[in-house]
């Protein structure tokens, strides 16, 4: 669209700026809060200029932890969250790309039944089936383990559907050409389907990584040991205290740290992410 109004974009920019401010201001406050003394926020003040304790607070947060409530340094929680989010994202992608491949390219009895069963699990997120899932995880001795944190969340109908839709757009002639070129199902998957799905995989990875990172209810149930808790749980535990004083500077620093990996994933994969959602390499 070509516009030649002199102040045409001014209004749009004003709205956008307001939006950015609304999103960015709390993040800014959080960053500022993490550079002041614990007592400043506890006394009811919310400073808007940086304090001098940036390095001290972040050192304490990462390697020591709060004095009372969580007892663990945040670096461990970061690692737990990172492992959980990565395993969930990679596991979901691996399982759903294979099941979508099976549903689209193979003819087997009850193929559509299998597809609809997968489809129906869309209606059954973890929250709905939380008790049976917990029971199974507990019986399999998966409590307080990475397996327990990740495996029950890996099955994914959304990603399977996403890949199925993408595979349907790959022209049949490509499969036929592969057949004539002597490529069996596995070779066709490895040499053609997988490279063509690259951008879609990247887009899904971003979405699923953040999904895994933000998990709250499931880790809360499945982990009880302090060294297994994730950063999202950690933040919560730091705040809810009956008698101790909340160490707001550490809480703010933890919140900042909790934001970084998802932001990094989005920024690093942004180009592929947009490409994967918008176009396909065909």
């Amino acid at each position: 669209m070509v516009e030649h109004r002199r102040f045409g974009n001014l209004f749009a920019y004003a709205i956008l700026s307001i939006g950015v401010l609304i999103v960015a201001f709390p993040v800014y406050l959080c960053l500022i809060g993490s550079t002041h003394e614990q007592s400043v926020i506890a006394n009811g003040q919310m400073p808007i200029t940086p304090g001098g304790l940036f390095f001290e607070t972040y050192y304490k947060t990462l390697f020591v932890g709060t004095s009372g409530t969580t007892r663990e340094p945040v670096s461990g929680m970061l690692l737990n969250s990172f492992v959980m989010a990565s395993v969930i994202a990679i596991g979901k992608i691996a399982i759903s790309i294979l099941s979508a491949y099976a549903v689209v390219y193979f003819k087997f009895p009850f193929r559509m039944t299998a597809f609809w069963l997968i489809f129906m699990t869309l209606m059954l997120p973890v929250e709905v089936r939380i008790y049976p899932t917990y029971k199974i995880a507990a019986d399999l001795k998966m409590l307080d383990s990475y397996a327990g944190l990740t495996i029950p969340l890996i099955a994914s109908a959304t990603a399977t559907l996403f890949f199925r839709q993408f595979f349907m757009t790959i022209p049949d002639e490509l499969i036929e050409a592969s057949k004539l070129d002597g490529a069996g199902p596995w070779r066709f998957f490895k040499d053609t389907v997988l490279p063509l799905s690259k951008t879609n995989i990247a887009a899904l990875f971003v979405i699923l990584f953040i999904y895994g990172w933000n998990q709250y209810l499931w880790p809360l149930l499945i982990t009880t040991r302090d060294d297994m808790q994730t950063i999202v749980i950690g933040i919560k535990k730091m705040i809810v205290t009956a008698d101790a004083l909340t160490e707001w500077n550490v809480v703010m620093a933890t919140a900042m740290l909790a934001m970084l990996p998802p932001v990094a994933v989005v920024i690093l994969m942004q180009r592929w992410f947009v490409k994967g959602l918008v176009e396909t390499e065909k």
């Binding site: 002639e173 050409a177 004539l180 040499d191 690259k198």
Partner: protein, 362 residues
């Protein structure tokens, strides 16, 4: 290289749709055979059965002396060029051509030699590192052919490979494909709905309609001696004029536009028999009125540059006359045709009444 033999091949799809109704055909070694027909006539299905991409309901397909009904496409030793090229979008031109060879375990240095040779032959040796999307339609077409050539197969199968190209490029690629065949002498089966492609490329044209073969022959024969009314109207542009008529005497047929002579030696007809009279537009000339002439009322004229198509009616039938643009276009309202250029068909079966064709076609 090898010959391909089809014996009573049938294809029935789910829902009892019979796409190919018993086709028998011998495609000789080193020949260029074109399967020609309108869309839905079963020509592509037939080709895909030869390639192994469709199962064969009944009958046998033999490639190079080996029955291939149950053989995987990759093991039939054929190569196929698809309508939309079906190049692997994420692979370079080189990899596209080398992929099939790698899967077959051909040695790396051998692959390099073969790809280089094919690329040079097709004039794409400058693009080997590019991706298909960076190429023009004609270049992609060449890569698709290169992918087939490097395989050195028993037979090449072409599934309407030129229909995605613009008109000018199509003519150019047509000439190149024929030139390539003259050099490689590879058994080729080419599917098209374009009669010009068929006429110019083929050693043998196989005209198909509704799952059956209508006629098999060299292009000139199919044009000059069509075995059925369908072939007569499908081949030649504009299509052959057809008008109902009745044989009144030896060598004379009467139509609603007048009486006209035919060669009684050529046709097996009896006096009083109802026939369908066919005359190609280019075989009609304007003449002075009289016996043995067709009346003609012209309706409108189409200018094609070199020729001029004059549309009109003769009695109750509509006719097209093709004349050279430079020819004298008098006011004459009467048409003449040489007796040897008049075709007669059986109105019920649509088959030619020629003595030398009757009974030989399927």
């Amino acid at each position: 290289m090898a010959s391909v033999t089809l014996e009573n091949v049938r294809k029935v799809y789910a829902g009892n749709v019979e796409a190919v109704k018993g086709v028998s055909l011998v495609i000789p070694n080193n020949s260029f055979t074109v399967l020609l027909g309108p869309s839905g006539c079963g020509k592509s299905t037939l080709l895909r059965m030869i390639a192994g991409l469709e199962t064969i309901t009944s009958g046998t397909i033999v490639i190079g002396g080996k029955v291939v009904n149950e053989v995987e496409p990759a093991d039939r030793d054929i190569a196929m060029v698809f309508q939309n090229y079906a190049l692997y979008p994420h692979m370079s031109v080189y990899d596209n051509m080398a992929y099939g060879l790698r899967n077959r375990g051909v040695a790396k240095d051998q692959i390099e030699v073969r790809v280089a040779e094919a690329a040079k032959l097709l004039g794409i040796d400058g693009f080997l590192k590019r991706k298909p999307r960076e190429l023009s339609g004609g270049q992609r077409q060449r890569v698709a052919m290169g992918r087939a050539i490097v395989r050195e197969p028993q037979a090449f199968l072409f599934d309407e490979p030129l229909s995605n190209l613009d008109a000018k490029l199509r003519v150019q690629m047509r000439i190149e494909i024929r030139g390539l065949h003259n050099r490689l002498k590879a058994t080729s089966i080419f599917v098209t709905h374009d009669q010009v492609e068929a006429m110019t490329l083929a050693d043998t044209v196989v005209v198909m309609n509704q799952g059956r073969i209508e006629q098999v022959g060299v292009p000139t024969e199919v044009y000059r001696r069509p075995a059925t009314q369908f072939v007569a109207t499908f081949i030649g542009s504009p299509a052959m004029n057809l008008m109902p008529g009745r044989v009144t005497a030896a060598g004379v047929v009467e139509t609603s536009g007048g009486r006209i002579a035919f060669d009684p030696v050529l046709f097996d007809v009896a006096d009083g028999q109802q026939v369908e009279v066919g005359i190609r537009p280019e075989d009609l000339q304007f003449a002075t009125p009289g016996d043995g002439r067709l009346s003609f009322a012209r309706a409108f004229v189409e200018e094609l540059g070199a020729t001029r198509l004059i549309h009109g009616t003769s009695g109750s039938a509509s006719l097209v006359v093709a004349v050279a643009a430079a020819a004298h276009d008098g006011p004459s309202e009467s048409l003449a045709a040489d007796a040897s250029s008049v075709h007669l068909f059986d109105p019920a079966s649509g088959k030619s009444l020629r003595r030398d064709i009757r009974g030989t076609s399927t």
